[in-house]
């Protein structure tokens, strides 16, 4: 399955791992921050409707 990368195995796999890793980190950050903000907002809205 794994293609033969020859002499450049290290470089090519490094490039793929680093890039996908960075994108993964970015996605994770966006997702976590989105979740945190959404939760905080929901809490606030609940408080508000409780008070109203």
């Amino acid at each position: 399955m794994m293609p033969d990368l020859g002499r450049y195995a290290l470089e090519v796999s490094l490039a793929y791992i680093a890039s996908l890793g960075l994108i993964g980190l970015l996605v994770l950050w966006v997702w976590l921050r989105g979740r945190a903000v959404r939760r905080a907002l929901d809490e606030l809205e609940n408080d508000r409707s409780d008070n109203a």
Binding site: D4, G6, Y8, V12, S19, G34, A40, L44
Partner: protein, 243 residues
């Protein structure tokens, strides 16, 4: 005919992206996966570059998206300055981190590629240098957003910075080409002088370019949604204090 300005209404934007975002996100994952898997597993080695040619499927899409992200921020900033559509300003804010990561990927893959190709991680090449300068502009833009408390003021200031910065980024690019001739490929899809690019490379390349574009759109939509919520939260907290 529904004007696109309607999406400047945050509520409408949220409602639309509610169903749009998952579609774009999954599409992005699928297209990128197809492009990269094709590129990594099913392309032949180049006769001169060997397996390193496979890096192109990461390098070129990320480099393009890095530049496009800045252009998108520029347009969004203009819209904010002229028509004061809040969603537009927040979209620009959300695009910046994505742009930075794309720039970083472009830099890293380029450096990793440069090691076998040019025998060096880094070279005094104009395209490389101007890319690094773009990275700095991104950092400055993000730092300015972070440094200013009031959201509207921050939006205004970063928008002006984006406009003025774009002019200087363009000038820097020109200056970098003046400064050195460089090793980097020209802006055509020819991998090396004299070799025609085969569809065996072009097809997966275009697919991953689309994939990266979709990733960008998905992340910007998600980020904008978060920023809208954060903004609303700020407003609610402020209102609480009033009472």
């Amino acid at each position: 005919m529904v004007s696109i300005w309607q999406y400047a209404n945050p509520l409408r934007f949220m409602r639309t992206t509610d169903w749009l975002l998952p579609i774009v996100a999954w599409l992005a994952v699928a297209v990128t996966a197809v492009g990269l898997i094709w590129g990594f597993f099913f392309t032949p080695d180049d006769f001169r570059q060997g397996a390193t040619v496979k890096i192109i499927f990461l390098h070129v899409p990320s480099a393009l998206m890095a530049i496009n992200a800045w252009i998108m921020m520029l347009v969004a900033s203009l819209i904010w300055l002229i028509r004061r559509h809040h969603v537009s300003a927040l979209a620009a804010k959300a695009a910046a981190p994505v742009g930075v990561v794309m720039t970083l990927i472009g830099l890293i893959t380029g450096a990793v590629w440069g090691q076998p190709m040019w025998g060096t991680w880094w070279a005094g090449d104009p395209r490389l240098t101007s890319f690094l300068i773009l990275f700095l502009f991104y950092l400055g833009y993000i730092a300015l957003w972070a440094a200013i408390e009031d959201p509207d003021t921050a939006a205004d200031l970063t928008a002006v910075l984006c406009l003025v910065g774009s002019v200087f980024a363009l000038l820097s690019r020109y200056a970098a080409f003046f400064w050195s001739q460089g090793l980097h490929q020209g802006a055509s899809l020819s991998l090396a002088p004299g070799t025609r690019v085969d569809w065996a490379y072009k097809a997966p390349l275009y697919i991953s370019m689309t994939g990266f574009g979709l990733i960008f759109v998905a992340l910007v939509l998600a980020g904008t949604r978060t920023e809208i919520r954060a903004r609303r939260m700020k407003a609610l907290v402020a209102r609480e204090r009033m009472a």
